[in-house]
Each structure stands twice: as C-alpha cells, then as structure tokens.
Symmetry: C2
Subunit: 293 residues, 2 copies
C-alpha cells in the first residue's frame, strides 16, 4: 500500500496531499542525486505524534547544519494532521493504532528549490516483533571516532541526513551474520550507538537498577527516545547515568535495550551471539516510562 | 531543459527512454530515502564517452561494496548510446560537443528492486569556465583519516554513493569563503583529495617537470582523470610520482590542478587566498595528455 504524502513548499505552505501511487520525485532532485536533505521518523499512536517537539527541534538542527530552509513548526503540524487524517488503517497494537510519520526536507531541484514532505505509513511487522521478541546485535567498529568530526561543521556530524548508505550497509552486514542491529564501537572499544538506535544499559547495585547510556555530544546523534526514557525513569525515582561504556559493561549488565522512535524499546537478547540477561518485567517497566511520552 | 533519461531494469534490460519532464522517482525509492545507490559521472565529446571502461569498472566496484546488482557493461553501453542519440544539443567547446553522462544505480523500491539510469545533460557553463579560468581552493580538514575506515567494508570507503550530503556541505562552505573547491587534509595535514576531484601537483627539478598526486588506496577515491593524465604524461616521457604531499608542497609547487571527469583539468589559481604559480602552457600540455583519453 502506497504511503500517504503531504508536500509543503512555497506554493502550499501548510501542505498539499499528493498521490503517492505515481512517481513524485524529479530526476534532478538533489535529495535523490546527492542525498542532500534531512529527515526525522516519528511514531503516531491513535493519530497523536509522540515527542513531536523533540523531533521538530532535531529536524531544525539538521536543516541548520545543511543550510537548508525548514518549514515552521505550525506548518509541519498542520501538514502532519492532514496526512494522518488521510492515512491508511495503520497497525493495531497494544498501544493503539500506530503509524510511522516521516518528515523529510530535500534541497529539491535547482529550478524549484527545497520542500518538505510528511510521509505516513503503517508500522512494519518486523518492528513490532522487535519490541516483543528483542533483537540480536553485533558490535561493529565505527572506524574513526565520530568525535574527531564534530569540530568541523561541514562534516555534518549530528545531522540526520538522507545520506544513509553507510547505515544501510551496516544493517545488511549484520543481517548476513544473523543479527538485526549493529552497535558501533570506537577504536578504543567504547560503545557509541546503534546503526539506527541508541544504546541503554541497566545495572543493578544494592538491589536498585540504574540506567546508563553512552555520553552524548561526542558525535553520537542524541536519541529522542533514550531522552524520553531517561526523563520517565527519573520521574519515577530511578538514577540514570552517562557512559563511557565498554563491551564488558554490556555483557555483564542486567539488561541492554536499543531505543528508537518507532521501535521504541527492543531488548538485546544476544550480543555477538552471546546471550545477555533479559527481564520481561524490566522491559515492561521501561515501556511504562515511555508510555506517556 | 530536462535531461535525457534511459532506465535499465529487468523489464527493459538494455534501456527504455523516459520522459524526464515528469517526476520519475517513487517516494519509497531507497536511492531517495536513504541515499542507497551509486553513481559515476562521465564526459561525452561528440557522443563518445571518455574513459567508459574505467568508469564502468569503478561503478561495478561501488555496486559490489553496496551489494547492489549492476547491469552488465553491454547494457550500460547500449542504454548510453540510446540516451546520447536522444539528447539535447549539448555544450559546444574547443573539444567538440560535450554532454555529461551520469550512470546511477538505485536500490529502488522494496516492491520493484534495483534499477540503473543513464542521465544525459549539457555541461554547465561554470564547469567549462573552471577549465579555462581555474579555481580558487581552500584546504579543509577531513576530520578523521579516511584510511581508518578502509578495513571495514560496511563503511563503504571507496564507493561513490548517492550519499553525498557531506561533499555538498563542503562545497557550500568553501563557496561562502569565495572559493570553488575544497582540498581535504588529514589530521597530520597530509593532502587527500578535492571534494569532487583529485589533486595533481607539478614540480620542476633540473628543468624537468614531474607530476605528483597523493598516494592512492588510503581512503582516497582513485581518480579516473588523474589516472588518464598520468598515463598520458608517462607516454610522453614525463616522470610521475605519488605523495605524501603537504600544504607546503602545493604552495611551493610549479602548478596545482584539480582533475575530474567533466571538468577535466582546472588549474588552482589560489589556495587559501594565496596565489599559486600557474602556467597556461603547462595546463595546455596536460590537456594534450588527456585529449586522446
């Protein structure tokens, strides 16, 4: 089933519904020819987008790094409402009826310039399954330390761009090894992030669980779901902390999860084919922290 | 004027002409949503593609790194002939009538899978002008050393992918400084390559000019034009050599050029706003080395 697409541009500043059963993108669109654009992927439950503010803030930051004009928040909200109204039936889960909502800005064609799109579709079954059954993850060297790039704005560290070929190659690589996600490590073996997720670790100390995640702002994309999870945990009186984390910390933890906006929270059942501690109760508690966010 | 586009897929293995005045790309094309594809840009003079073999070899290598199926060489040649036959008038220069010919492979949509495109258009005036009047270039740190990535195939070092947002950001950055190209340096200040070109330096020793370029195979994309230039130079009895080169070597050289397939050869007139030695005679000689290639 074709997704539902609403386009925002200077002719339709609050969005026009397009027919996505036909091709929509021109051959000289620089989003296509150069991966020159930015995006956010969000989850809507019963037509309510979760963490809309956080995603709009991160999208605006990505757009700023690429020096590409960004529709204002009101336009995105109006266009998203139109897309969700017009969307297909979505995916029914325990949370409600779910849709993925992708916001995308492309630099467009040299003639017409930049535009925004809201793209709404169902949530893939494989994503729902990862929430329930967890994922197998592999540690994978990230090559250079992304922190080395953060001083140079033209390297776009921290921008979520359409230039995602490496992330896709990484997922293909780990799939060929029987896993579903990669967890990147720096050259000193420090844990960075998943190819499409943030890494969260629970550690029990004197009976109390504390959540940890690698230090942000070192070339790691700040995870909106990890942020919401930590906020929820803090509100419930849990302690949270920030890395550095090493493979040993994951192996010896009381639970590892990958967080991302649509998948929400997926327990890591195996790391490099080694079984990790998992606890359905703790996963349920963490899902509760996310529920209202 | 819309470019001329020929598509190769399993329904039309030697290519079908498309109408590029309408949108051609679907919204869920992973070339668009993920920059998940590869490309080559070539120059045709009087409908003859230069260095076609070298480009097809590099395209096949990029496709192999991305694990994406690649039309065979005969299909590319047939589709390119069809596109050039159907193309607009092109750009008339001293070399003849010029067209740019882009070969592109996208992973396509989940439903339809990968396809190839041949996209033919005229050569931009700004490109022709760079051949004649040269370019101003800025040295720009590449952040990490690309050599660090070459051991990990999933990082796609050496693949020319549609994920080109960083290269575009680099060009915007140097344009904001009044220059047209960036020359990347490693953290030890070693010269790497231009954002969209290879770097060639001439040095005179006892009256004889020798050409140098940074050592290949350290995360630098091997330049087909630099390769052809060195072959032509060697055939004419010149010596050629390989880096490491440092900024001082460029500043104190007897000429620096940026080579790329459509621009061919552009003398660098200024590096970081400092005038470099230029010699129209040597540029003319080097163009001669390229002429038959």
């Amino acid at each position: 089933m074709a997704p539902t697409v609403v386009r925002i541009d200077h002719n339709s500043p609050t969005g026009t519904l397009l027919d996505a059963s036909a091709p929509l993108i021109r051959i000289d669109d620089e989003g296509y020819t150069r991966g020159d654009g930015v995006f956010e992927t969000m989850l809507a439950v019963d037509s309510q987008v979760r963490k809309f503010d956080l995603h709009l803030t991160r999208l605006a930051n990505s757009a700023r790094l690429l020096k590409i004009s960004d529709p204002d928040d009101a336009a995105w909200r109006q266009a998203t409402a139109l897309a969700l109204e017009s969307a297909g039936p979505g995916t029914r889960t325990g949370l409600g009826v779910e849709h993925t909502v992708k916001l995308l800005i492309s630099r467009g064609t040299p003639d017409e310039g930049p535009y925004g799109l809201v793209i709404v579709s169902g949530v893939p079954d494989s994503t729902i399954e990862q929430r329930e059954n967890g994922v197998r993850a592999m540690l994978l060297p990230r090559g250079h330390d992304p922190a080395e790039d953060t001083s140079y704005p033209w390297l776009l560290a921290g921008a979520k761009t359409l230039s995602y070929a490496v992330n896709m190659a990484v997922l293909r690589h780990v799939k060929s090894l029987g896993a579903q996600e990669a967890i990147f490590t720096a050259s000193d073996r420090r844990i960075l992030e998943g190819a499409t997720s943030s890494v969260v670790v629970a550690r029990r100390d004197q009976g109390r669980l504390t959540l940890f995640t690698p230090e942000p702002n070192h070339g790691i994309l700040p995870g909106t779901t990890q942020g919401a999870l930590f906020e929820g945990a803090r509100d419930s009186g849990w302690d949270v902390g920030f890395g550095p984390l090493y493979p040993k910390d994951l192996m010896e933890s009381d639970g590892v999860w990958l967080t991302s906006s649509v998948r929400l929270l997926a327990p890591v059942t195996h790391l490099n084919n080694q079984a990790l501690a998992t606890s359905p109760d703790v996963t349920e508690t963490l899902m509760g922290f996310l529920r209202s966010r």
